[in-house]
Symmetry: C2
Subunit: 247 residues, 2 copies
DNA sequence: GACTCGCATTGATACAGATCAAACCATACG
DNA sequence: CGTATGGTTTGATCTGTATCAATGCGAGTC
């Protein structure tokens, strides 16, 4: 059982709390970014009835690899990591999810990765059964899910290239530009300032490197005056440098 | 323009030839494995009208990265590789497609990888426009595409773990067991004999290694009596050894 | 049979990134 | 304030895999 379990009494679980009141799709800041962008305003009421806001503390495990899928959700605030762990403790992050990202595209019975809160997180939660029914009734909603899934697949292939064929320096450059692009989509404009809420170890496990190599590479880039390390992330000084590193 | 271009006159292109007559879904050997498994026998006639068999020679490029998607297809015989190439020539294979595998899950406008025939290949070709229309009319067919796409996504995540966190020996073991499992699905039973129609360079580019490391690792396994190299692939002597290498 | 041609294998060496170890530096807390 | 604590940085060294360079070998061809 986890925080997304439908049967769980409100507030009965450490690390999360429900805010049943207050969801209002009209006010949703991430709607244009999310799966809900496929819906007409007239359809908001129907999906609103299926949804519940849930909050998680920093470091909470939202779902555990191989848990049953009881609910699916959109991140409305905060950042999570998607984690696969090997028996001996080696980790590979398959991605980060930012506000607007939907988790549970697959409609399958069990999760294939853990989802862990990097910052305090708010999600808009949908019960699996209700959403499955909704999908059956609204083919254009299924089409939207399918488009999102195949887009994810294309990004996964990009990441395979990164993991299999790029150097540490190229991996870091690609990572920083990826995160920059994703913040830009959320904020509506690109900035040279890139918040990095995830720690060095998470970046390492996402890029297939060690924490030391991540640290050294970022600090080399700083010494080369390509970026500045700031308390919450980095500021890029020379975008061209990073773009030229992406082959 | 490529071999799958709808407007292309029959036989006008090197490396492929149409066999317009002869498709018969009732006789299709890969149907139970393919996207068509979602269809009722009564629906076969409708999809049969949209499909054409096309053959490609060994080494033919079936589609090129960034080509427009004019047609989608199911592999009915032979093996292809899915290739991403960097500007400087580094390659990453994102997968191999075997008989029964569907290519074009994404329904997007352009391909994000090249598709190249490793052996002589036969495909069952569907025009994109016709298939899109079909999808609109048959939500259960879209659901089948979506399930296949999310399954692919899960496999892509497995492959990220392989590329980011496994050693050369573990990568090879995982690769051999993957190919074994896929042949077993096609043939109906698992065998210790694993045909490997792809060359060492393809294996290397799939696993994020060099051809030398692939060759050395396989030959080490042979010297350790865990497998035997045979003309068309390998024969596993000790399945346990390979399974224990998959963490 | 001799000669390509396109892989695959093997050997010697180099190096990018891992590993091991220690120091650093915020932040939290008694 | 001093002192844990958890993450980050830096340094020294090691090593798995890449790189460079031959050599081997089977299939096709003249």
């Amino acid at each position: 059982m986890n925080c997304l379990d439908e049967a769980r009494p409100l507030g009965a679980h450490a690390g999360c709390s429900h805010h049943v009141a207050g969801e209002d799709c009209r006010l949703c800041l991430v709607r244009p970014l999310s799966v809900c962008a496929a819906l007409e305003p007239a359809e908001w009421a129907s999906i609103e009835k299926m949804s519940t806001d849930v909050r998680f503390e920093e470091r909470a495990t939202i779902v555990h690899e191989s848990d049953d899928v009881i609910a699916l959700f959109t991140i409305t605030a905060g950042v999570v990591r998607l984690v696969r762990t090997l028996h001996d403790g080696r980790r590979q992050l398959t991605g980060f999810a930012l506000p607007g990202d939907f988790l549970g595209l697959s409609l399958e019975r069990t999760w294939t990765f853990s989802i862990e809160a990097i910052t305090p997180v708010t999600v808009c939660r949908f019960g699996r059964a209700a959403l499955m029914e909704y999908v059956d009734q609204k083919p254009h909603f299924l089409m939207r899910l399918h488009e999102m899934a195949t887009h994810e697949l294309s990004l996964a292939q990009d990441h395979m290239v990164l993991l299999g064929r790029l150097t540490a320096e190229e991996k870091l450059a690609a990572f920083l530009l990826e995160i920059r692009r994703r913040w830009a989509r959320i904020e509506g404009h690109a900035s040279h300032h890139i918040p990095l809420p995830m720690g060095r170890q998470d970046i390492a496990d996402y890029l297939g490197l060690t924490i030391e190599t991540v640290s050294r590479t970022i600090n080399q880039m700083q010494r080369a005056h390509q970026l500045v390390i700031v308390p919450d992330g980095v500021r890029l000084l020379n975008i061209d440098y990073f773009e030229q590193l992406c082959p």
